[in-house]
């Protein structure tokens, strides 16, 4: 396992080096020349590079007590907070007491002097290269240029329209926090920080995308997460050479282990509590600016069947629900396939009365069962897709039309047998119970159906064996995908088919936390004991 990872890492590191070397030899697109002391020249160059965009505001001004210093403030007015610029940059620069007195002996051509004495915003930095200056400018900072200085001051004063923290649309809960991630990555990091107030919580920043320059953060707990895992994620992130990252899905597709698999090997979530829980287990979260969907790696298959609510509810009901989820995944992938295999190939396995009712229901149906199943499944997926994309009010109409036209009318017209409608609709309902595997489930459903139509039960068993082999060979960042079932790990099984009480799960998942899996994340023996009578009586 380690050897495999080492090899991968070495391979990627070598590959990376090569790419870096390539990068260096290529002529840079942005000029990486230094800033010149001549303000006019600088302004001209910058304007030239920005192609005179109309939203770039350049404010030139003089300051100092006899107005002998020249400066310019450049910012993109759509990205910056103008009020803050006026209050914290322009006002101090032009009207500060220090500048109005003539006896102050300060060299205001030095950026450091200005930064330390005048500017009252906290988030600012010095740059010397034109390319850095431009990067920051485009990210929403205001740039202060002083005539005679080879440096520029970048003042982060970006203003960002952000959605309020709302309940996420994809993962709603009955019990549990209602907050969800938003598009602003800063807010998202804050949400995570509030959950884990630990000095070991590391947040590493990457900027990915030649044009989009998207901020990507890896968040993990240094003392818990496997350093090799973090190194691996770093390597894979650094590899990405792409114009733009618009959503975390871009990152996912570039760093996943097996791009040819229909199963996702990196999970995503909109819920801070869920992501925090996974980080605490030793996983690493990847936050991407501009999307509320946070990636978490590594992912195991079982995670798809776990919901945050399982841990907030008491263990008994949580276990029942979890078993129902497993069953519903089986129904959603195998339901139509088993129906077709039974009715077309293995009629002897259907109880007599049921067989007679099925035969009666199918009496006028002109299509073979496999065709019927495909048509119905197609209609269902069509309806679902249409319902998702349409505005909510129209979506309802689609639902009603679908239910009446497809369900009732087609049965009455004798095009579809009533039992097929039952099979497909129960499949459809079941497929929503495991949201994380809906994609793979849909594909598998069609594959199994085709196998069942061609080779009956034999085809389905072969399909299942193939799927099992594929799943068993998958890995997500070194963690076996079917862990802890394959390979078998008994302490891991506490949280698979049933959810043991929290006090009984004292160890972190062994496959994820490789380096110190022996360390407990809680003390054992926290099982609540019944009150001692003395405690109450002694009052």
């Amino acid at each position: 396992m380690f050897g495999y990872l080492f090899k991968k890492i070495r391979y990627f590191s070598l590959k990376n080096k090569n790419e870096c070397m390539l990068q260096n030899t290529k002529p840079g697109k942005n000029n990486s020349e230094p800033i010149s002391p001549d303000l006019e020249k600088n302004l001209e160059v910058i304007k030239g590079i920005l192609r005179d965009s109309s939203d770039v505001t350049t404010h030139e001004f003089n300051f100092g007590h006899d107005r002998k210093f020249k400066g310019a403030l450049i910012f993109i007015d759509s990205l910056t907070d103008k009020a803050e610029i006026h209050k914290n940059i322009l006002q101090p620069l032009m009207y500060d007491v220090l500048l109005l007195q003539n006896n102050v002996d300060m060299d205001f051509t030095k950026i450091d002097t200005i930064r330390k004495n005048l500017i009252s915003t906290t988030d600012n930095l010095k740059v010397t290269l034109l390319s850095d200056l431009l990067d920051n400018l485009l990210a929403g900072a205001a740039i202060l240029l002083i005539n005679g200085s080879k440096e520029a001051l970048v003042i982060k004063s970006e203003k960002r329209e952000s959605r309020g923290i709302e309940e996420p649309g994809t993962e709603s809960v009955v019990r549990g926090p209602r907050e969800g991630f938003v598009e602003n990555v800063k807010v998202n990091i804050a949400l995570l920080r509030r959950k884990i107030k630990d000095t070991d919580l590391c947040i590493e920043k990457f900027v990915i995308g030649d044009k989009s320059k998207t901020d990507v953060y890896i968040v993990y707990i240094k003392s818990v997460a496997n350093p090799k895992l973090i190194e691996e994620i770093r390597m894979r992130l650094k590899r990405i050479k792409i114009e733009a990252i618009l959503e975390s899905g871009y990152i996912e597709q570039f760093i996943e282990d097996n791009p040819y698999s229909i199963f996702p090997t990196i999970s995503n979530s909109e819920k801070p509590d869920k992501v925090a829980a996974k980080i605490l287990e030793g996983r690493a979260a990847i936050l991407v600016d501009g999307t509320p969907f946070v990636l978490v790696a590594p992912m195991v298959f079982i995670e798809s069947f776990q919901s945050v609510e399982d841990y907030y509810a008491r263990p008994f009901f949580a276990s029942v629900i979890r078993i129902i989820r497993f069953l519903s995944y089986i129904i959603s992938t195998l339901g139509p396939a088993i129906y077709v295999a039974l009715t077309v190939f293995h009629q002897e396995l259907i109880p007599t009365q049921l067989l007679i009712s099925i035969a009666e229901g199918r009496e006028r149906v002109p299509f073979p069962a496999i065709m019927e199943a495909f048509l119905m499944l197609f209609a269902f997926d069509l309806l679902r897709e249409a319902g998702v994309r349409l505005p909510k009010s129209v979506g309802q109409t689609v639902g009603i039309v679908g239910a009446i036209v497809l369900g009732q009318a087609s049965v009455e017209a004798g095009l579809i047998s009533p039992i097929m409608v039952i099979v497909v609709s129960s499949t459809a309902i079941a497929s929503f119970a495991v949201p994380a595997q809906t994609d793979s489930g849909t594909i598998l459903r069609y594959i199994y159906l085709a196998l069942a139509g061609i080779a009956g039960g034999f085809g389905v068993i072969m399909g299942l064996l193939g799927t099992l082999l594929h799943l068993a060979s998958l890995r997500s960042f070194g963690t076996p995908y079917l862990w802890p079932v394959v390979p078998l790990n008994f302490s891991g099984l506490k949280d698979v088919f049933i959810r043991m009480p929290l006090w009984a799960m004292s160890k972190r998942p062994k496959a994820i936390v490789w380096n110190d899996f022996d360390s407990n994340n809680q003390n054992p023996g926290l099982m609540p004991s019944p009150y001692k009578k003395d405690n109450i009586d002694s009052k």
Partner: protein, 391 residues
């Protein structure tokens, strides 16, 4: 290397896809194209070389039968289709000339043989039903008093299908223990036994006004696959007492004061048969343990007392002993080992059995039975006393 792997994977996948698509849905049969057979009857044809096979096929339109009925159409949910053939399988295939589809016999509930077939010997006709992969070993086997096709034609009042009705009749044998269920597997197992006689339930038709009612009138005794005689209801219960397979039933004994009767319901019955060879004589020690409840009494005297119970128990033990002996005497008369005593001896005295088995027919009538019956009345149902003025 990686590229090569991918290429061979692609090749494999495309081969696989082609195989699937080209082979198509071979072996697929749509459910509405099936001729679902729920019962079969085998009779001798007028031509002694041939047999007449009757198959009861489900009409898929049965669900709509209620609509048809109002229009006065034929409302039968089944179709009895028959054909002639040299052998059973031949006839099964000849039927396709009438049905247009192969028969689907996995849901066959019962196979009924006509009496003339039974007399000739079932061995040669049963082979198909054991061998055909669609046939299930749980299908029942029955003998018709007269012709099997008539039994399949007698439309029952409550059930839609005659064959299902007959299967239901057989499966509820436990209420009286006057016959028992015999399926393909049981019959095959008996056929394999060189000494044991086989029993198969017998169905008859009685004309009741304009309706024909099918009922189970007893069991047929086969010796070496050939029908030799019939057993009455009481004989069969005697047999089941010895085998310990009585499930329930009614025992009627005179009440202790000789006025009226006490009617007992059998709740539980067990038996243990221990064969013994003593000085060359074979004795079967049979211990029967029975528990019953007082279900009815036709006398005003309170029978729910320990004294009365004791007398009733004795009387019922006597009834059981008599039934068992009657069954044994009948079997001796037929010289047919319906109990499987030979098998029991074989299990206990496997060495002696080697010499016994060759002239079992001579030995069987000499077997002695030593029956020990113990009965208990364990409840009186809802009444503590009869509804009559107490003295």
């Amino acid at each position: 290397m990686g590229k090569k792997m991918k290429l061979s994977n692609m090749k494999l996948i495309s081969c696989f896809l082609m195989l699937f698509i080209l082979s198509g849905c071979i072996g697929a049969r749509e459910i509405n194209d099936l001729e679902i057979v729920i019962g079969m009857g085998v009779d001798k044809d007028e031509n002694p070389e041939n047999i007449l096979l009757t198959a009861q096929v489900v009409k898929a339109t049965a669900g709509k039968a209620s609509e048809n009925e109002s229009r006065g159409e034929d409302s039968k949910a089944f179709w009895n289709v028959s054909s002639r053939g040299n052998s059973v399988f031949d006839a099964v295939r000849q039927i396709t000339h009438k049905t247009g589809n192969r028969l689907f016999i996995s849901h066959n509930q019962a196979v009924i043989f006509g009496k003339d077939i039974a007399k000739e010997g079932l061995q040669e006709y049963i082979d198909f039903f054991l061998r055909a992969h669609e046939m299930r070993p749980t299908a029942l086997i029955l003998i018709a008093e007269d012709r099997a096709s008539d039994v399949l034609n007698a439309k029952p009042e409550t059930e839609k299908f005659p064959a299902v009705n007959i299967a239901k009749l057989i499966k509820t044998y436990g209420f009286t223990s006057n016959f028992y269920k015999v399926n393909m597997e049981d019959f095959a197992s008996c056929l394999l036994n060189p000494t044991k006689a086989q029993l198969v339930p017998l169905v008859s038709i009685i004309q009741d006004g304009e309706y024909k009612d099918v009922y189970v009138s007893g069991m047929v005794v086969f010796k070496k696959g050939k029908m030799v005689s019939k057993l009455t209801h009481d004989d069969v219960r005697g047999l089941l007492w010895i085998l310990g397979k009585v499930k329930s039933g009614v025992i009627i004994v005179p009440s202790p004061n000789e006025q009226g009767k006490a009617v007992l319901e059998i709740i539980k019955a067990k038996s243990k048969v221990t064969p013994e060879i003593k000085d060359g004589k074979i004795v079967m020690h049979i211990k029967i343990r029975e528990e019953s409840s007082l279900s009815e009494q036709t006398t005003s005297e309170n029978l729910a007392t320990n004294e009365a119970f004791e007398k009733i128990q004795e009387a019922s033990a006597e009834v059981i002993r008599k039934e068992a002996m009657a069954a044994f005497n009948k079997s001796v008369e037929l010289n047919a080992d319906i109990f499987g005593f030979g098998e029991m001896l074989h299990k206990k005295y496997s060495k002696e059995w080697k010499t016994l088995k060759d002239n079992w027919d001579e030995i069987y009538p000499t077997i002695e039975l030593n029956i020990d019956v113990e009965t208990k009345i364990i409840k009186t149902d809802l009444l503590k006393k009869p509804a009559s003025p107490s003295e």
